[in-house]
Symmetry: C2
Amino acid sequence: VKHYEPLLSLFNAHLDHYRAELSSKQPKELYEPENYILSLDGKRIRPLLSLIACDLYDKDPKLALDAALAVEIFHNFTLIHDDILDNAPLRRGQATVHTKWNSNIGILSGDVMLAKAFDVLNRYNATLSKTLNTVFIKTSIEVCEGQQWDMNYEKDPSVTVKDYTRMITYKTAVLLGCSLQMGSICGGAPLSDQEHIYEFGKHLGIAFQLLDDMLDVYATNDLKFGKQIGGDIISNKKTYLLLKAFELANTSQKKQLQLSLSDRDPVKKVKGVMDIYDQLNIKLLSEEAADEHTKRAINYLHLINTGTDKKKCLEELAYQLLNRVI
Amino acid sequence: VKHYEPLLSLFNAHLDHYRAELSSKQPKELYEPENYILSLDGKRIRPLLSLIACDLYDKDPKLALDAALAVEIFHNFTLIHDDILDNAPLRRGQATVHTKWNSNIGILSGDVMLAKAFDVLNRYNATLSKTLNTVFIKTSIEVCEGQQWDMNYEKDPSVTVKDYTRMITYKTAVLLGCSLQMGSICGGAPLSDQEHIYEFGKHLGIAFQLLDDMLDVYATNDLKFGKQIGGDIISNKKTYLLLKAFELANTSQKKQLQLSLSDRDPVKKVKGVMDIYDQLNIKLLSEEAADEHTKRAINYLHLINTGTDKKKCLEELAYQLLNRVI
């Protein structure tokens, strides 16, 4: 949304300043990876949401800059550690930290980033700092829990759609809610608004993740720049689609699904699984599930007690984020 | 020191309560390692120091329980991650977390512990919480930096005694200072006292580490329960002793030191290095360096503006800690 470009520039300047400070810190093996990962992500959705939420209350969005920065540092800390856990060689087309340096440096530079996120939050006055910490700490713990559920589910044959939804909620959606709530706290939002904007972000995040799962299978190649169609199927990832399919499949469909999943030919594997998806109408069901969460998100947005114009802009941004996924 | 047994019991009860809460948390893969590592360390020196520092100001030591708990959780988080970095199979004679579970679980359960340390600190009122956070965050960052220096020095042939002293200061000594300062903050200490008790703990920590290095080579077997004499020499660890020896050695002694270090026979290796240590009086020099830091620690203790009796007890504890090392 073009309307938000000034806020994004504001944050980017703040981040640049932080990164410039990093570049003189010693030992460089500890701080270069932080500087590197912070240079890779151009979207800055989370910090932008913090500034937008503060701006909703007609307060200077600069007040939310450190909350936004803490969230962005935290998010990038999770990327470094998650990439180690997933053994991922690439992140946004560039070498992951543990590939460019090594796992030990990845672990330790991630650790220091988590401490630095709290350091940045501790710049606020005592009252604000404590309130922000309460939201931020709760979310940090949930993100770790979500990542652990995700690792557990890889080996667990009994995972359900409900388990999966909780996992993506913790692993990715709560941080969007947290970003918004922290920004609204900086803007002086009352507690009820804080809760509503948090829920808006959370359900938006769930919708986003559900659409992302669908995109992996049903996106046209144009929109899937750099990713393989059906990559999740090939890697046996337990997505919403697969779990929903197992939930709805009859005995013979379950058998065929299992058979296709063990197919060594990736093209036949994707085709076989998609065949069952089609029989069970999985694409539509995924879209409906995402729509449901989008609707809940927007309902929460409407409950927020601020001017309609600014909320309208945020609603537009939400739809834009979701559209980009499909 | 017998005098402190009630404080230790007080902390242990608080820790037991925290661990009981942990045991019901999900996912258990995330919280069982935390519970496990917290069950291994019986000494609890850091949290005890927090309670002692609070008690110096005749305040109820219960006020420092959460600060003490945060420090203990943080310390155990660093143990889990350091053991991964060092590839260590054992910790206090028991399997390390990454050995008992796996590295991924070690990384993630460590991460959540760091977040939980902040969670525990956030239980204090806003003003106290911010003051405690300031000390705790600075220290957390320094501990990470110390660990990174330590990793760097393994491969760096130009490390000096000065580098080494900074490394052990950051890696281990500052957390002792931090534990004491945080306790004193809970007791209402003025800033000057906070600084003095921090420096007391820091120099005590440096002395402790220097003596620990010496112990590795010169302790009798009785006192080195479970550890091999000269283990540091065998593993080419850059200790104070080795770096001091390189600093003082003449050309021929340097050559002999290098030669001994590359000896494949561990017995001959230890003997060769110790021979140079003897020529250069390294044992005495290490003791003197430790004594120097002990003296500085005690001087800082004397500068603290509280009753003499309680300071005397703390001085006794300091000497007891140092004696146990030798």
